[in-house]
């Protein structure tokens, strides 16, 4: 999905040798000029932790044995009925934690976002931790504001937008964690139905 990048006004990057206008450790900000050009991010992706990093974060020092499972139709129906959430895929990416517990990697799909995440379950089947692995957001090319396109007329096309490069801090809530809550509920039902010994 190609994205156009507009010129962003020079903001001092982190670690720059240029002086930061701070007075000791006082809070500081300066508004960028009103004419600062918007950056267009039709697709935005952030990678957080890898599977191995998430394993280490939720179960420090532990060892893991892969124990992937393919759900039968019966198991799938049982999970859907138990959790009241649809099961999109029959593949369960699970690892047994030495000493007890499970580590599962799963995905949830929202209207505009795709989130890959990991859940750790303790030996008694409770949630020990949740870590997001990666997050992708996409609005496609739907156009909500008719006059919006005009701003691109006459501008030159620079390098494609570097995802997870320049855009680091975005204000404005991006999503609810409802999809993840549903996913965790489904995974708890999956544990009860297909993993628990």
């Amino acid at each position: 999905m190609g994205a156009r990048r507009l010129t962003v006004p020079a903001a001092r990057p982190v670690g720059s040798s240029l002086e930061c206008k701070r007075v000791d450790s006082r809070p500081y900000w300066h508004f960028l000029p009103a004419a600062a050009v918007a950056v267009f991010a039709p697709a935005y992706a952030t990678v957080y932790l890898t599977t191995e990093q998430a394993q280490a974060a939720i179960f420090p020092g532990a060892r893991f044995t892969p124990a992937f499972v393919t759900l039968t139709d019966q198991q799938r129906r049982a999970i859907e009925s138990r959790s009241d959430v649809n099961v999109r895929s029959r593949e369960v990416k699970a690892w047994r934690v030495d000493g007890g517990g499970w580590f599962i990697v799963d995905e949830v799909l929202g209207k505009h976002e795709f989130i890959s995440y990991a859940v750790g379950l303790s030996a008694d089947g409770r949630v020990a931790g949740i870590e997001i692995l990666d997050y992708r957001e996409s609005y496609g090319y739907e156009i909500r504001d008719a006059g919006w396109r005009k701003q691109f007329t006459g501008k030159s096309v620079a390098d494609p937008l570097k995802l997870d490069g320049d855009i680091r801090n975005i204000g404005g809530a991006t999503l609810s964690c409802r999809h993840i809550a549903d996913g965790v509920r489904r995974l708890l039902a999956t544990y009860e139905t297909a993993l628990k010994q």
């Binding site: 508004f31 404005g172 609810s176």
Partner: protein
């Protein structure tokens, strides 16, 4: 028997890494970025997430047994003891309510319950005319309600949680960081550029400000709006009414602390330009993006420098 190195953690080195983690908390996705050596960053961010989880457990209005749940059920009648953190948030909330003459008011829970943002048992039997002045803060972390009110700390607790997480990161020696709780964020040593979404077009990002050691909170209806009985509503209630502030606008506040930035977004949403005095009092500034796309600033372009 030799232990294998911990999976995923590089051997300890002093060179900096950008460690970015996210967890679902506070009803949103909380993202923490720490720039330091990898193993310190993992330890520090884990501790920071625990601080956020603690705020979540204490202040959720959805849970009958959280501090907020217990206050809503029992505080009109007798004093209820809460955690020091909850008491601290209520204290800041009161100062902002007083300074804004009620434009910020945590007693909006009954309206939020009516619109489906909170469970319907919240706010039953409440006095619609009573507000923040009914909240009495007593010694030893006790709180009493002088009238039957119900509170929701959703307009201030995220900012508070971000401040707590930031303090934990600093205590672990992490100077460069960002904590972002669904659009309420705090930046460590910078400067870092903060962008805000165009409320009319969420994939369009407007560069807002270069920020260092300060907080930026944004309230916008674009993701939280829903229909209720044919009306479009969102959770920024005009206190004392059953209306919400205009849909399609976005308010961003910059302040030294995130708890203040968060609460002041509601003051600006309700008062608009008339919020200038309140903003100045708390060392803050704001930027409003109207549904038309107009961008307006309220308050100083940079914080005042010490003489």
């Amino acid at each position: 028997m030799l232990r294998e190195p911990l999976a995923g953690l590089a051997p300890t080195r002093s060179h900096s890494s950008r460690v970015r983690r996210a967890r679902p908390l506070l009803g949103t996705l909380v993202e923490i970025l720490a720039v330091t050596d990898r193993s310190s960053a993992i330890r520090a961010t884990t501790a920071a997430f625990e601080a956020i989880a603690s705020v979540h457990r204490l202040m959720s209005a959805h849970e009958p047994d959280s501090d907020v749940g217990r206050l809503n059920r029992c505080a009109h009648g007798q004093p209820v003891r809460v955690d020091a953190q909850t008491w601290q948030v209520l204290e800041v909330a009161r100062r902002i309510s007083a300074a804004s003459r009620g434009a910020f008011d945590v007693c909006v829970a009954p309206v939020l319950a009516r619109w489906g943002y909170l469970p319907d048992w919240v706010g039953r039997g409440c006095d619609a005319t009573a507000g923040w002045e009914a909240i009495e803060l007593l010694p030893d972390c006790h709180v009493r309600f002088r009238a039957p009110v119900a509170i929701d700390l959703g307009g201030i607790a995220k900012g508070y949680a971000v401040d707590r997480a930031s303090a934990v990161l600093r205590a672990h020696g992490v100077a460069r960081f960002t904590v972002n709780a669904g659009g309420d964020l705090r930046i460590g040593d910078g400067p870092e550029t903060v962008h805000v979404r165009d409320p009319a077009c969420p994939r369009r990002l407007l560069p807002l400000a270069a920020v260092s050691d300060a907080a930026v909170a944004t309230s916008g209806a674009y993701f939280a709006a829903q229909t209720w009985h044919g009306r479009l509503v969102h959770p920024i209630v005009v206190p004392g009414s059953r209306r919400c502030t205009p849909v399609g606008a976005s308010v961003t506040v910059l302040a030294p602390e995130c708890i203040v930035a968060d609460a002041l977004t509601k003051v600006v949403a309700v008062l608009d330009g008339a919020s200038e005095g309140v903003l100045a009092r708390f060392g803050a500034a704001a930027c409003v993006i109207a549904p038309t796309g107009d961008v307006r600033r309220i308050g100083a372009l940079t914080p005042p420098v010490a003489a």
